[in-house]
Amino acid sequence: MTVGLVLVSHSAKLAEGLAELAAQMAPDVAIVPAGGLEDGSIGTDYDEVVAAAQRADSGDGVVLLYDLGSAQMTAELAVESMPNPSTALVADAPLVEGAVAAAVAAQGGVSVSDVAGAAAAAGAPPDFDELPEADGDLVVELRLRNDVGLHARPAALLARSIADLDAEVSVRLGDQEADAHSVLALMSLGARQDDRIVVRARGAQAADAVAKVKSLVEGNFGE
């Protein structure tokens, strides 16, 4: 079971396209677009947003993302109208980056507030240099052989693979280091085919984390 997402947009096409994009990175997450008015014109439809929130919520809660001002208000009203408003959150985040980050977080099986937090953090600059070096860190250098490097889908796979592990993990390319739990930070590294990345992990399940990342990289992320 995972937290569901609702994408509230003034445009049906925007919401649908973004749902399609985010679903690429989070196959098990219910991502429900709620864009446009009933007649297909531009606007936000309160009843549709309420229905979308009900559909997206499998019992683990739902996070709503929005594009512009009145979509935020419609989303907030929809949350207030829910039988149990505490299971739903409106994330204050850039829509596209927020939806991708939230989808990946949700796929990792985290809570409503953590999914909303992942969306909100997507608006901040990527958190490079997250993990100061310390003795006992597991470090492994890996060469990316897959065609697209650490682009969206592989970055999402990597972040997801370690989401539920008790480990701090970072990925370094050159002098930039990204928190491996953040798909957007990973993408910001711009690691391409044949680049060498350094994966560093610490914590109770550091070895598992390194093994998972290694297996993804060596398996070319399933490409």
């Binding site: 008015l37 936000t44 439809d45 309160y46 001002g69 009145s70 208000m73």
Partner: protein, 210 residues
Amino acid sequence: MGCGAEGVTKAVLAAAGVVAEHRTELIELDRAIGDADHGENMNRGFTVVVAALADAAPATPGEVLKIAAKTLISKVGGAAGPLYGTAFLRAATKAADQSEVDVQGAVELLRAALEGVQARGKAEVGDATIVDALTPAVAAAEAAAAQEGADLAAVLTAAADAADRGAESTVDLVPRKGRASYLGERAVGHMDPGARSTALILRAFAEAAR
């Protein structure tokens, strides 16, 4: 002396009437600074409110306001839907199941509506929004209600007068909320359509109370 479900229904129907009458004016105000849909959206929403009230025959002021709120949220669209919907919803909640709204009660409903709009839209006085009309209206209603022998008509007229002046004041403001804020300085010289519709609705309430 108070105002029951019938009186509040009459006031909401009067609001629907004034919105229909000023539909084109609101469209033109919105055309200057937004997407020209405020008049159309408000008219569509209030038209459905009229039908919903006729169907439901609500028994208390709170029920009347709640029906209006739900309908406006669903049917108005744009930012005005959630904002006016919240205003009516908060007023409905404040009215609870009381059978009548008296002078003091009316002031409390107006204040609840204002607080709802502010909570929803996060706007303050000076941002060129509904709040610029509604805030002085609530203050004026409070002052009028404190006068000896004040009746509903006097309180609502004071509110409508203040809302008119508040709406007028948005002409000189640089909008900081809503779509007009994207225009910045270029929006100066135009009255905010939401402030105008608020003033119109409060005037309709005042006329209905006479």
